[in-house]
Symmetry: D2
Subunit: 429 residues, 4 copies
Amino acid sequence: MATRGVLRQNTAMLNRREGLRTRYFEVRSATDQLTTPLGPEDQTVQSMADVSPTKWHRAHTSWFFETFVLLPFQPNYCVFDEGYDYLFNSYYESVGPRYPRDRRGLISRPGLSDISAYRKHVDAAMDQFLAADPPPEAADLVELGLHHEEQHQELILMDIQHVLWNSPLQPAYSAETHLAPSPTSCGIEPQWHDLDGGVVTVGHNDLGFGFDNEGPGHQILLAPYRIADRLVTNAQWINFINDGGYSRPKLWLADGWAAVKNLGWQSPLYWEHHNECWTEFSLRGREVIDPSVTVHHISHYEADAFARWSNSRLPTEFEWEHAVRQLRGDSLHDSSANTASTEEHTTQPLNDSEGHVWQWTASAYLPYPGFQPAIGAVGEYNGKFMSGQMVLRGSSCFTPPGHSRVTYRNFFPPAARWVAAGLRLASDT
Amino acid sequence: MATRGVLRQNTAMLNRREGLRTRYFEVRSATDQLTTPLGPEDQTVQSMADVSPTKWHRAHTSWFFETFVLLPFQPNYCVFDEGYDYLFNSYYESVGPRYPRDRRGLISRPGLSDISAYRKHVDAAMDQFLAADPPPEAADLVELGLHHEEQHQELILMDIQHVLWNSPLQPAYSAETHLAPSPTSCGIEPQWHDLDGGVVTVGHNDLGFGFDNEGPGHQILLAPYRIADRLVTNAQWINFINDGGYSRPKLWLADGWAAVKNLGWQSPLYWEHHNECWTEFSLRGREVIDPSVTVHHISHYEADAFARWSNSRLPTEFEWEHAVRQLRGDSLHDSSANTASTEEHTTQPLNDSEGHVWQWTASAYLPYPGFQPAIGAVGEYNGKFMSGQMVLRGSSCFTPPGHSRVTYRNFFPPAARWVAAGLRLASDT
Amino acid sequence: MATRGVLRQNTAMLNRREGLRTRYFEVRSATDQLTTPLGPEDQTVQSMADVSPTKWHRAHTSWFFETFVLLPFQPNYCVFDEGYDYLFNSYYESVGPRYPRDRRGLISRPGLSDISAYRKHVDAAMDQFLAADPPPEAADLVELGLHHEEQHQELILMDIQHVLWNSPLQPAYSAETHLAPSPTSCGIEPQWHDLDGGVVTVGHNDLGFGFDNEGPGHQILLAPYRIADRLVTNAQWINFINDGGYSRPKLWLADGWAAVKNLGWQSPLYWEHHNECWTEFSLRGREVIDPSVTVHHISHYEADAFARWSNSRLPTEFEWEHAVRQLRGDSLHDSSANTASTEEHTTQPLNDSEGHVWQWTASAYLPYPGFQPAIGAVGEYNGKFMSGQMVLRGSSCFTPPGHSRVTYRNFFPPAARWVAAGLRLASDT
Amino acid sequence: MATRGVLRQNTAMLNRREGLRTRYFEVRSATDQLTTPLGPEDQTVQSMADVSPTKWHRAHTSWFFETFVLLPFQPNYCVFDEGYDYLFNSYYESVGPRYPRDRRGLISRPGLSDISAYRKHVDAAMDQFLAADPPPEAADLVELGLHHEEQHQELILMDIQHVLWNSPLQPAYSAETHLAPSPTSCGIEPQWHDLDGGVVTVGHNDLGFGFDNEGPGHQILLAPYRIADRLVTNAQWINFINDGGYSRPKLWLADGWAAVKNLGWQSPLYWEHHNECWTEFSLRGREVIDPSVTVHHISHYEADAFARWSNSRLPTEFEWEHAVRQLRGDSLHDSSANTASTEEHTTQPLNDSEGHVWQWTASAYLPYPGFQPAIGAVGEYNGKFMSGQMVLRGSSCFTPPGHSRVTYRNFFPPAARWVAAGLRLASDT
């Protein structure tokens, strides 16, 4: 989830500015909360190139505020450590050279205490900065930085799950954690919603925050389609496995079948089969699979194969977005359209559209018509990744509250499996 | 170009049936013609996993008729060699196990004479079969097999260019060959066509042959756009190089920039720079670059970076198709709409829309709404490759005459460079 | 340095038994002392497959006593953690499956505090065990375990040097450390000792401790030879570099030249060249090269190329051993012959034969005539590594005091460079 | 078998000179004879980096005479093709840059007819050159070139066996060929010869031709030992397999066991097990294993493991050489000592010491005391490979008649299996 964004809306928003300082410390504190169960050893390990050590995430998010807010806008800001720019730049080519991503596990030092000091140093400077009246473009970048840090909160959880799974004793992150999808109350068999399609509007409408890749809002022509009212469950996935899902090449895209063979996939990531029983490693440790829970930690290839096995297909990202809006009665003139909504609607909503698992779509991650990246280095946030990845919609149990949107476009390569991702079925009518 | 197809139109077409036998031998003979300049050693070498030896192409295209036409439809057909099914199946999982693609260069035997005998054996059986009245579904498969063989004619040329380039003495395929793009008569600076967009129809209309991936024909909503009337030339590409095109990361998609660094790209494939002069290896051998010729042997990443450098973008495959139709005055009820047309139109056409180089588009290779693969093993022809690839439109100097269509969807991974591919610019209005 | 050994002498040695408990706690404590400057993050990182995390070394040495002493000989010993057997077995196939070597950096847990508790648990049990009168074969295994732990003390220093060098800030292990070779007082130009050779005895004479690979003592026939009285210095190595040592293939073994080209060697490991000045990373951090210090962190290939450039060669391990014995006046009946000796001798000794850097020899690491590995799992200590490695003799500044012997055979693959290894020249007469 | 050599004896030998021209054409013709069963496709393929295409061997051996004889010694010699120097230099760094070894399978051109013309061109020039009275150093190089070409005759057979085995249909080289080891007449259980050892002389005595690595002749001290009178057979090997030879790590060197696991070894190369029957691919095609034939196509690691399973060991190269000399009654003053001898001796000889399979020894391939490589580029023939390889003694059914010697040192890396190599057991007494 290399997503980043820019404020698409620069009109003065007094409330936001007043609330910014409060929100800054809430978000920063939430990051630190996540590391409570983790020792210095846990926070240092990198289990694969795509995963970053926890302590790296904590430093990188501070570097973001230092580099994009404090250095340009706070006149006397004193950099914490000149060497950190090289270490904690993730991928901003415009900012200068950077330490190779796949070697982040070698950063024995700075250690945990150095990085805590770094966070405090940046927080103190930001406190001062936000207490004064920051110019609107700086406030926009602060807000971007907070959304950015929320994305890394999700990455911290995804990544540490992978790290702990690779640790040979597979310790739990936390026994009490609620950070796994809950069972669904509804039955296994999905109900279908039929939608008419037509010329519909999709994308961000510039009210409230959105990443640059969510816009511009624009019209598209949708053919009629149907979409399932719930996500695919573990019970359904076990049926797929038992029906030879992982051994029938005709169900798979060619690249997906190559992954099955080369990587030895026989179940979702983190699953194991012992004594006729499926178990799964989650942040709570290894547990018996609950059939009524939404399947997750599957790749796009697996989602696509499952859909074909079901005589269905994945929805496009536009079908997904349109269905969510339609079924909760959104008006495009309604200013709440871009924000996550938990209220009940009179129409029957799409269950689990948010907060359980990310949902793979049939859409490649490509720019919307008229897309323009943000000006400056933060323009590298999203646009340059628009190749070779697939869009996921919704949000997951790892996503911080309030971070999701109906227009949100998450994206990962089709073989990625350490994302908390599942699927919802669709079909033509 | 792993494209394959099925007849989307099964109505009786008497003319086609009568002409099928003639066309069969024309196509088969054209394949053999291509190998005239090549010795047994040339036809045996595999220069990378994506490239197949010439003799493998010759055998595989025969295997296609044997497997999908003769075995199911010709009662007493006697298989030439039982072992060939394993060797010359390209990727049809339904047909059985197959020899690994990246080891085709180890097939020292069957040798050239065996493979010529195989072709003759299949041709003799097909002669008999076509002389009788083949059932419509068999005739459809013959036509598919001929389009398939035409695709392999293009692959033979692409692949042998790569083989000869890797041969340390870099011999020419043929001194007299006209198999390279010709210079453009028009100047370097493109003219722009402005198009209004709107709800337009794209895709194959089921009149005449088309591969399954070209349909169904359907409506989409296009925003207004502009498109260049000509292809980008070598002269423009040299400007891009001289302006640091290969050393400025901000011009590139992240995956593209990784390819530039990891693979050392500094110019199109086959180019070399000596004594302030650019040369290029083509089927005619190594030659000085002609600035007025269309640039080719570039990846999608390079095309995309060039477009960004030009403050433009690549057209989507639908913008491309719509522009070609509009600018030559196609009517959607016109039965010629799907076929290549060389006649002059009253409106100003898109120059070089066919016959020079394939044109990278901004579109990922994905199924059209309502897409259904063909029934049976030939259903593996196209659909399973709809992941991780980009669409190219038009055709190239390597494409057999009559093989192109305005709805034709060629596709390759974004890093592929041994395709004869270039680009045309587009932009928003 | 995967060396391990067994007592070749099992006669009752009362003094040794009485002193064993004292020595046990001295050695164990010395290991812990080495980790004082290192935080949990430092002790967790694995910088390449050949390097183990510090905390792994600390656990593995405890596992050795638990597995080979306490479990077989201490009736009621209670294993600290059943899972550790899998984690901290280095390579003893007989003992059971083990965690892959190249994934030791993923062991986030057990953390440092767990491993300290493990050490204390084993130490308490050993304290009890040694207070009673352990049977001779157990005492032998304790002594083996202490020599084993001393070997890992050297590995801890070698490995952490590599870890800190790979940490992007390249922190020092300790500012005050004396753990680097000292300058030589003698001039650069070596003096040569001429030796007559003849039938001489080499190998361990079974008085005192020795690893199994040091014996049996046996006679060999040596031709006359000469050997340099001192080690090659940094000054000489810089001359080699400046004379094109790393760019002239005729100086190199074929495998060595391949390593130079493929790995980009242009100087010893840890060296850098900036502003016409050579620096070196040691445990003290990055420092300017001292020309009078012995060169180290070179591979066997480099040592061999340097010798050829010097119109000399490396000594065989037998020439080395014979010269050391001869020049300090050893008698083969002298019981001190196997132990390191720091006293002055009347003859002119070989300078730096111990305590500076390991010395590459021309000898492949092979069994001596009549070699028999120790009985039981500890028989895997040495013999199975007798392939593809070269012998080093002497000892280094990282070697614990008292651990070296004139018969000691250290061994590493010819491309290894993270060993503190240099060379001494020899030639035919 | 990268062995090459130089004449160690430069005294005028009139007989040799007179016979040189005859011998030249005999050897050259024998090379061409070997290619009779092979088409151009067969001669072009490279099945792994260690294997060269047949046509490359044919060109390289001609390049050897062109480069080391004709160019320096024949004043008006006209080079056949300037580009060939780059293509057909195997590894002589002093001669200039060369085409990468692992890409020799890409040399589609020059084709077979070009290479035949090259051979004829060199032969014609050599005919002229040898008709005149070549200077002694040139005659020495011609003789070296002929021994070199004989080595490549063996390589052609070894390599084409690997090529044809990798060709998916696994065609036979020749149905009538006798190029496989014959069954032994003696029973399976070996008899042992006991030898006293002592100070003995080994190595080439400078009478007749020898490669530089065979000398200098020198004295060594051998402990008493015993050696088997025959080679290990397929029957014994099947016992080893059935007794878990490939699944018991304690039988193996650590590197050997890693090869077993990583490469999946379960039998000698070219063996397959179907329906309770072992078959083997030889130049005659796939055949049922004959239990009485000497086992071959095993690595050093396998030979070493088999010996350990047999409670024996491999002989050192000096034990082997001494035993062969002793048991056939060689006198060191006997001028035939260096040549293969087929006559009966009064003492009981070592069966199969020549002509069946190469015999792995326990000796690393290292220089003899006083070894000096030949002067000039041919000095790269042997010495630079003295690292990481093991010595094989004897000769094989692929070795040309007259090419073997009791002092001959063949060498390969310990994992090599495409050599026709087996083993003879030895042990301490």
